[in-house]
């Protein structure tokens, strides 16, 4: 069972100013276009076409873009909208609503056991799992939490070393085995150690795996199973790290990982590039998986809790 109180904490303690920085460079150019298009009053087909084009170019995906536009058209008809600004405002509102809807409202649930909160980090190769773990740890340590790492990526060359560098930077312990070892065994030992040392949070780094590789998906399921042997409620969070440059395949990744290990949230990495990260919209819409954090750069403090309203506002901002 995901620990919802964490979600609430994440959202309340957000360092929101950072979002603005991270998004300023990339997003403005995209949605500011929408504003330019719609400056002209009156709504004709070209407006809808260009809106669709811009949504698709933002990696929102064809079907989601089409749905959104059909909705907007319907609304415009019903309300007799003549002003294209109203259409944009409506789109904003719809996106905010969509991105907010997945957030659990119930904050009574949580980690029922007395052990550490276990966060399992998963994702395909090269999305930035290890870096995101470093940032997450920094974020929690900043809040006075005791954090520990499990180096369960025993496959990729030097993955353990990489995690160790981050651990040193943040000042947390790492439980690791030798390269090539059983990742589930690492996770198990780490949870035992984290419990014994009364840590608040255990973050488990796993090897990058394409969601299409059956054996590797079984491996990550095994990690999850083994953890639940020590603590029935573990892992409490399973974060899918998603590269913001990813296209529609991101939806596939989220779906397959969710089926395998039940993702409780998405960590959207590399949002500081020029990619729009629009694939999170169908992920939230179709799969109901909330976006939890964003990675906004290479340094340790480049992390920010995801805030739907701010995200959408930034998407629409035209201050560039």
């Amino acid at each position: 069972m995901p620990c919802y109180h964490f979600l609430v904490v994440f959202r309340l303690i957000g360092k929101k100013e950072k979002v603005k920085d991270g998004l300023k460079r990339s997003k403005a150019s995209w949605f500011s276009k929408i504003l330019n298009v719609i400056q002209t009053s009156g709504i004709d087909d070209s407006v809808w076409d260009e809106l669709e084009e811009m949504l698709i170019l933002g990696d929102v995906g064809v079907s989601t873009a089409t749905d959104l536009i059909e909705d907007l058209k319907q609304d415009a008809r019903n309300n007799g909208t003549q002003d294209s600004h109203e259409v944009v405002d409506n789109l904003k509102a719809k996106l905010i609503e969509l991105l907010s809807v997945a957030y659990p409202q119930d904050n009574d649930l949580g980690n029922d056991s007395n052990g550490p909160v276990v966060i399992l980090m998963v994702g395909v190769n090269g999305v930035g799992k290890t870096t995101s773990i470093g940032k997450l740890a920094h974020y929690f340590v900043d809040q006075g939490k005791e954090v520990m790492f499990a180096a369960a990526d025993t496959f990729r060359a030097a993955a353990i070393d990489q995690l160790q560098v981050w651990a040193e930077r943040v000042g947390v312990d790492v439980i690791s085995h030798k390269p090539g070892g059983d990742p589930a065994a690492v996770a198990y030992d780490a949870l035992e150690a984290a419990t014994a040392r009364s840590k608040d949070i255990l973050i488990i780094d796993t090897a990058g795996r394409l969601h299409t590789t059956h054996n590797l998906m079984e491996e990550v399921k095994k990690i999850s199973r083994v953890l639940s042997r020590l603590d029935q409620t573990a892992p409490h969070e399973v974060f899918l790290v998603l590269d913001a440059t990813t296209g529609q395949n991101g939806l596939m990744q989220a779906q397959v990982f969710a089926e395998a290990v039940g993702c409780t949230g998405v960590f959207l990495s590399k949002i500081d590039g020029s990619a729009k990260g629009g694939v999170v919209i169908p992920i939230v819409k179709d799969l109901g998986i909330p976006i939890m954090f964003m990675g906004t750069g290479e340094s340790i403090e480049d992390i920010t809790p995801f805030d739907p309203q701010q995200f959408v506002e930034e998407l629409f901002s035209s201050d560039q």
């Binding site: 395909v124 030097a158 296209g247 020029s274």
Partner: protein, 443 residues
């Protein structure tokens, strides 16, 4: 959710194939589906628009609409159009007469530069080169360790200097070392960076200036979305690339980014990465890629792999047996083992025209080869007599085989039924009839 692009196009074109002639309206309808499929495969919006326009312009001519099989014609046009965007011929690395030849790998973070450096080095080493890698990613933690570990695995020397903070000095020292040891190729693994990070792009320009590489390749994740164009264009504009390498094509991303980038930059795609192992690097063939995207099957690759995997004598032997309809379970097992060498059953089916939908229906046991283990166990638990004449396997023999192989009598039955089916089909094939229920083999 969405299906793979090839499935979509297959369903579109099967409508064409069933009709003798198509109208302009049919064409519009079909191309609308093509457009959708391309967009869902992450082909850039503008590239898609141009692609559709071009196909429409070519298809709408008389010769197509009045030809006997317009569906086939349009498939051909779509295929040709796609191939021409992807590049007209497969390309290889161009080394000058420099000693050493320098190849520089660049790209966004996490695209797979370090893994690709190792794969390319192994490739060059196998073709007789003396290769050296330079670890020039000084920012990502443990990037140097990663390259060194890979170098050790492959027995390829790696130049690194942990005390050096200036990547330009580092690569210069590395090249000097390479000259000293008389390397023929030097591969430079640079740190991942954003194309909009002007400071790091300037650094990359300086590195390139000091290296004067014969190849500057951008490593691109095949899962990249619409933004693929701006990152590739960004790198190309500031350091002038000579080609691309698409990575992670072993996943289910259809590689729309490849189409987009080729179209916008005209850069050749030189290699594709198809797995995490260091030999999972293949030459890029535009023709095959287009076929694969279009669901026409990657038949050429399949044929190549089959040639690698099959033993000729064995094949001749088998053909004789097929004619005489005297195939045994032993042969059956051998064949399954051979097929397994070509890749997983799922991978193979993906390459056969019209079979990609079946591969999706395979149970995971079949797809990843665990099914084979079961088959092996069952057949190994039989006596030679049983293997040659499976007909004699009845109740008690079946139970014994099941116990011996750790399976159930049901599994044994299933195997025997499959074998019988195969025999029947072999008979049909050798008598010139094509079996309709090839799919039944995999149920």
């Amino acid at each position: 959710m969405f299906e793979a692009l090839s499935d979509k196009l297959t369903s579109v074109f099967s409508r064409f194939q069933n009709k003798g002639r198509i109208t302009e309206k049919d064409l519009e309808e079909g191309l609308k589906e093509v457009r959708l499929a391309l967009l869902e495969a992450d082909v850039n919006f503008r590239v898609t628009r141009k692609f559709i326009d071009d196909v429409k312009a070519r298809s709408i001519g008389k010769d197509v609409l009045e030809s006997i099989s317009p569906g086939q014609q349009i498939i051909k046009i779509v295929h040709e159009e796609m191939t021409s965007i992807l590049g007209t011929e497969s390309s290889t690395l161009s080394g000058g007469n420099q000693t050493p030849n320098v190849l520089m790998l660049v790209g966004l973070q996490g695209s797979g530069k370090t893994t690709t450096a190792a794969k390319l080095s192994l490739n060059l080493k196998r073709s007789g080169n003396k290769v050296m890698m330079i670890a020039a990613d000084l920012r990502r933690p443990a990037a140097i360790d990663q390259l060194e570990t890979l170098g050790k695995q492959l027995d390829i020397s790696v130049y690194s200097d942990r005390s050096e903070t200036d990547p330009i000095k580092l690569v210069q020292n590395g090249i000097a070392k390479a000259k000293h040891v008389e390397a023929t190729w030097v591969l430079v693994d640079t740190g991942g960076r954003l194309h909009i990070d002007s400071e790091l792009m300037r650094e990359l320009q300086d590195i390139k200036k000091s290296l004067n590489p014969s190849e500057t390749l951008m490593v691109v994740d095949s899962m990249t979305g619409q933004d693929a164009i701006s990152s590739a264009q960004g790198f190309h504009d500031s350091i002038e690339l000579t080609g691309l390498i698409m990575t992670k094509l072993d996943g289910d991303a259809r590689g729309g980014a490849a189409l987009s980038i080729s179209q916008m930059t005209n850069l050749p795609i030189k290699f594709i990465g198809t797995g995490e192992k260091t030999d999972a690097l293949e030459a890029f063939h535009p023709e095959r890629m287009a076929s694969r995207i279009l669901g026409m099957g990657d038949v050429l690759t399949l044929v190549e792999r089959a040639q690698e995997a099959f033993d000729h004598k064995q094949m001749q032997n088998l053909e004789q047996k097929m004619r005489k309809s005297s195939l045994t379970l032993e042969d059956f097992l051998q064949q399954i083992q051979q097929i397994q060498k070509m890749g997983s059953v799922g991978q193979i089916l993906d390459m056969v025209p019209g079979f990609s939908s079946i591969s999706r229906k395979l149970s995971t046991e079949d797809a990843d080869g665990k099914g084979l283990k079961k088959v092996e166990a069952i057949i190994y638990s039989m006596t030679p007599a049983e293997r040659n004449r499976p007909d004699i396997i009845k109740g008690s023999r079946r139970r014994r085989i099941a116990t011996g192989s750790g399976t159930t009598p049901y599994d044994v039955n299933q195997l025997l039924n499959q074998f019988k089916q195969m025999q029947r089909m072999m008979k049909q094939i050798s008598s010139g009839k094509i079996p309709r229920n090839l799919a039944g083999l995999f149920r």
